[in-house]
């Protein structure tokens, strides 16, 4: 607003020098330039907030920007722009500026809404944006009545002013609500800011400053949470989340704060009866919902409700939203297969997700952390499958995700599928391993046997792990023949034993390495070939024995099926990969019982209604501002002094002026229309009037 338009500032002509100082400050704060500058500053700050990922860990920023810039950006608050002191300051300034602007303009605008300015002199009228003067031909009285009727007809409210010199001004005003628009929009900004302030965490910031509040950064059970991290009913507004397993209840909420969380005590208890996910046929989730029971001391009857995304439960000034889901401690029955053991002795383990189990093994002491269980692993289906089933997605079934940590703290993370999945037409049990979160899982494919189980694989592996038994088998199958000396036979069996051990520990690469290290270059190729042949032969012998035990074949030289042949090749690949699989254990899921947890978000937001109220004001105000034009018209009629009765028609001088507080092209068009009407009236009545 240009200052000259403000009546307040116009009347504030400095009476004393003292008054001038605060006025200048007020002028500055209430100035349009400052307002626009602040609006632009807010925009730029917001851009930064969206371009720089907010609230990540300092470590991530270090990697992204290097330690120097990460530090600089951090001290500028760029990683938490919307909470940074300078950002709040801009907001406060905007609030101040708008308040001052409103207080200064309101009296003037209110007056403007009511006044018709009917007393403006003719000279003043001739200074209005639109004005014209011409001769009239009808009596003053008729002229005036026509003018009033015309303006009323056009929607103006009118006021008539008779002057001492006998002239009359008919003043019209229309669209005074426009001014209300200014008032509503600008007050609404203040209202919205107040609402937002009510919902901010100022109280927590204050308590933190005074030292009575501290974020909890550890993952511990409720009774171990730091006393200073608890919040009670004194916290007026919050927004936090909590996971509640099926069949369990909670009266505590966790609010993210700084780099940890705070625990908020709730005045009610929420019980999660059941969480459900429904799926589309594409495998995409269709809905998430939870059956809840809310109990509170002041409630006679608990509230039963089913919430879903977009359908929260409102209770008093709390709202409970379906926001996520998690595993709620699915119980697991596991078989831990020791991968190096020469006998079949899997360890049975009963545990659950979110538990940590110590394991003492010949390979060392470990801790196993069971992190997650997923019921569905949905991936895009292959083209053939799409053609066959018409489904676009394929479900690979449940997985468990867990970490094995050794005594030094090194961890291996695993993802084990419970059921076999089809790869190139064969069924495999997939198990993924990675040594850091940053890597993708590397998968080992354990071939399923004819019963879709892993039994054959572990039998074969155990046999391979057992040099004594495997040699017994081998020599029984291939006893010394007469043409071979005892010594050669001994050497040969020893070699086989060695080769098997090498294969077991490193696969065929182990054998290549062995040849490279022990055989002179000239003979290396030939000898390697021989080694490979011997190894394959020995492995086959063991495998055939496994098949014989299964009853698949009767004799070692029976024909074996294509399936059993491919299985063997797949198994060898898997055994070769075991050396890079981390600690020698495989966790098989024997059975599980899924327990889900619903992820609830619970809020208390006393500012919400204030913000909505402000928003409604804003919208109404904006429409008043844009679509109600405030218009004024003056029709000034001045009877000509020299008019002599009886000669010609009574004549007068008419001045019409108009003003629109929006300087729009249509104002002129409308003005001209009005002038033409008055002229026409005068022309058509020129002869009839007395």
């Amino acid at each position: 607003m240009t200052e000259s338009k403000t009546p307040a500032s116009a009347s504030a002509a400095p009476k004393t020098v003292k008054l001038k100082q605060p006025n200048q400050l007020l002028n500055f704060f209430g100035s349009m330039n400052l307002a626009v500058t602040l609006l632009m500053m807010l925009s730029i700050a917001s851009v930064i907030g969206t371009v720089l990922k907010q609230n990540e860990t300092m470590q991530d920023y270090m990697i992204q920007f290097g330690p120097f810039w990460a530090e600089v950006f951090n001290s500028l608050g760029l990683f938490q722009v919307y909470g940074a002191a300078w950002f709040i300051l801009v907001l406060v300034f905007l609030l101040l500026s708008t308040s001052i602007c409103v207080t200064r303009n309101t009296p003037g605008f209110l007056k403007d809404m009511k006044q018709y300015s009917e007393k403006l002199s003719r000279a003043a009228l001739q200074h209005q944006p639109n004005n014209t003067t011409f001769d009239g031909a009808v009596t003053l009285e008729r002229q005036q009545e026509h003018a009033v009727a015309l303006l009323k007809h056009k929607g103006y409210k009118t006021k008539i002013h008779l002057r001492d010199d006998g002239s009359v001004t008919v003043a019209g005003l229309k669209g005074k609500w426009n001014r209300l628009g200014y008032f509503l929009t600008h007050i609404s900004i203040i209202v919205i800011c107040i609402g937002a302030l009510l919902d901010s965490n100022l109280l927590l910031k204050y308590r933190e400053l005074t030292g009575s509040l501290e974020a909890e950064t550890r993952t511990v059970s409720l009774d171990e949470i730091n006393q200073n991290s608890w919040l009670g009913p004194e916290n007026m507004s919050f927004r936090g989340s909590v996971n509640v397993p099926d069949g369990q209840k909670t009266d505590v909420l966790f609010l993210p704060y700084r780099n940890g969380y705070l625990a908020q005590k709730l005045p009610f208890t929420v019980l999660n009866q059941q969480f459900r996910i429904k799926y589309y046929d594409t495998g995409m989730p269709k809905s998430f919902e939870s059956d809840l029971i809310l109990t509170a001391p002041e409630l006679d009857e608990p509230i039963h409700a089913t919430i879903a995304v977009n359908h929260p439960l409102y209770y008093k000034n709390y709202a409970i939203y379906q926001s996520s889901f998690a595993d709620g401690g699915t119980t697991l029955k596991l078989k831990v297969h020791p991968l190096l053991s020469p006998i079949s002795n899997p360890l049975e383990l009963e545990t659950a997700v979110n538990k940590v189990e110590p394991l003492k093994t010949p390979a060392g002491k470990f801790k196993v952390e069971f992190n997650d269980f997923k019921m569905h692993n949905i991936i895009p289906a292959s083209d053939e499958e799409k053609a066959l089933t018409g489904h676009k997605m394929h479900n690979n079934g449940p997985t468990i995700i867990f970490k094995v940590r050794n005594e030094q703290g090194k961890a291996w993370e695993y993802e084990n599928y419970v059921m076999p999945s089809l790869q190139e037409g064969r069924l495999f049990f997939m198990t993924g391993m990675r040594e850091s979160q940053a890597e993708p899982f590397r998968y080992l494919f354990i071939p399923a046997d004819a019963n879709r189980k892993k039994e054959r694989f572990f039998k074969f592996l155990t046999l391979l792990n057992n040099p004594i038994k495997s040699m017994e088998l081998f020599t029984a199958q291939y006893p010394k023949t007469a043409d071979v000396s005892e010594k050669t036979y001994q050497l040969q069996t020893k070699l086989i034993q060695q080769l098997l051990a090498l294969f077991r520990s490193k696969g065929f690469t182990g054998i290549t390495e062995f040849a490279n290290n022990n055989v002179p270059e000239a003979e290396r190729e030939q000898v390697s070939d021989y080694y490979f042949g011997q190894t394959s032969f020995a492995l086959q012998t063991l495998y055939l024995d496994v098949l014989k035990n299964e009853g698949v074949i009767q004799l070692h030289n029976d024909e074996i099926s294509q399936f059993d042949q491919t299985w063997f090749e797949d198994a060898l690949n898997t055994v070769a990969g075991l050396s890079a699989y981390g600690p020698p254990m495989y966790f098989e899921v024997a059975s599980f019982k899924q327990i889900q947890a619903t992820g609830l978000q619970i809020t208390k937001s006393p500012g919400k209604d204030v913000v909505y109220f402000g928003s409604a004001m804003l919208i109404i105000g904006v429409f008043f501002l844009f679509y109600v034009r405030q218009r004024r018209v003056w029709i000034h009629i001045k009877p000509n002094a020299e008019t002599k009765s009886g000669t010609t028609a009574p004549s007068s001088e008419i001045t019409i002026a108009a003003k629109d507080n929006r300087d729009l092209p249509e104002t002129t068009t409308e003005f001209n229309g009005l002038v033409n009407r008055v002229k026409k009236f005068n022309n058509s009545n020129i002869n009839t009037s007395l």
Binding site: S46, V47, E145, H146, A149, L150, K608, Y612, L618, D663
Partner: protein, 392 residues
């Protein structure tokens, strides 16, 4: 008092008489909505019935304000009815769109959208041709093309709405939920708003400029269709299953559309102004609307856009409160909406209160389009957040 006599005399003048056409229009809209309610009412919740009622009233009002809209509505309705009827006579299976002539070549949502795209691109060229040859006929042709394109666009959207239910009843939703769908909404709304202003302010010479934005959007749409298969109808994620979508998204796109028109009028303004500066007798400038007209149009369009964008942002906040548990989370899309809003608030202040006019504001309106485009597209492309529909 003579005043009353005059008033009596004036009473009926200037008032648009209530014609048979008006009556027919009101009856048509009411019957149409009633039919929709009978047919599909069982799928609506009370809010959606409210939205249907609001749409009915709004459409009656808009049609009377702008009679051309009546013709459009009737044509779109007839075409959509034909399409729905054809589907139903072919057993309501989606593959009917490959088998029947009407659907395959004209009225299935994909065909209609392709027609729309072609017509918009042709209209752009035709508008520029008209600017060049000053032919009234060429201008009229271009104008008809835009009308036809908008008709096909609307038909495409309505039929797509039905098709989503035909493909799988569970997928059914109003087609304003993915980036692909809102692009159609964008071009249709923008072209309709442009047509309104063209008629009202006689500014057809800026048509080519406005159509440039629309053509660019159509180009994106085609790339998105053929390059990314984005036109495939997908079911809704749970967060989008809400009646809020039906009002929040269209309100937003009235805003985006207005800002785009304003920017392109701004470009036309700048070119004209430059031509005049070089040569006050410039032939180009003579073909363009007067500078004041364009300046005024920019203001009018931006205020319309600002009003709707305000509503859309507030509705968005209310939806966020219901879906995510907080009315404001500084999510990138939200934040960029705020940036767009603050930008135009500053623009309006400078014009209203500082009395700025012309060139600087035309530049600003153009830059505003870049900001708006980032809010609309850039956020989806470069930033992640809760509004993760339609990632590229």
């Amino acid at each position: 008092m003579q005043t009353e006599t005059y008033l009596e005399e004036f009473k009926n003048e200037g008032k648009k008489p209530f014609t048979l056409r008006d009556a027919a229009w009101i009856a048509f809209v009411i019957l149409g909505s009633f039919y929709a309610w009978i047919q599909y009412g069982s799928l609506m919740d009370e809010y959606e019935i409210g939205i249907l009622g609001g749409t009915t009233i709004g459409l009656i009002f808009l049609g009377r304000l702008w009679p051309s809209l009546q013709t459009l509505t009737v044509s779109v309705s007839l075409m959509v009815m034909l399409a729905i009827w054809t589907y139903s006579t072919h057993g309501d299976v989606i593959t009917a769109n490959e088998e029947t002539f009407f659907l395959k070549f004209l009225l299935s949502s994909q065909s209609a959208i392709m027609w729309m795209s072609a017509l918009f691109v042709m209209a752009t060229a035709t508008y520029f041709l008209a600017l060049y040859n000053k032919s009234d006929f060429t201008y009229k042709t271009a104008n008809v093309m835009v009308w036809a394109a908008a008709t096909f666009g609307l038909v495409g959207m309505m039929v797509r709405w039905r098709e989503s239910y035909i493909i799988n009843f569970n997928y059914g939703h109003i087609p304003v939920s993915s980036l692909y769908e809102v692009f159609i909404l964008f071009v249709v709304l923008t072209s309709l708003m442009y047509l309104f202003y063209e008629q009202r302010y006689k500014v057809r010479a800026v048509g080519g400029f406005v159509m440039l934005v629309i053509s660019a959007a159509v180009g994106f749409l085609l790339w998105y269709t053929f390059g990314k298969d984005a036109h495939v109808i997908q079911p809704l994620v749970p967060a989008l299953k809400s009646y809020w979508m039906k009002i929040h998204v269209p309100a937003n796109f009235v805003g985006y559309g207005s800002f785009s028109i304003a920017a392109m009028v701004g470009v036309a303004y700048l070119l004209t102004e430059r031509a005049l500066r070089k040569n006050s007798e410039s032939g180009f400038a003579k073909r363009m609307p007067a500078l004041e007209v364009m300046d005024d149009l920019m203001y009018k369009v931006i205020s319309l856009g600002f009003a709707f964008f305000t509503i859309a942002t507030v509705l968005g906040a209310m939806w966020a409160a219901e879906a995510w548990g907080g009315y404001w989370s500084w999510d990138p899309k939200e934040t960029w909406a705020l940036i767009v809003w603050l930008n135009y608030a500053a623009w309006l202040h400078l014009r209203m209160s500082k009395g700025w006019r012309g060139t600087p504001l035309a530049w600003w309106a153009f830059i505003g389009l870049l900001i708006t485009t980032f809010a609309f597209l850039g956020v989806n492309m470069f930033l992640s957040g809760l509004h993760s529909y339609g990632e590229l």
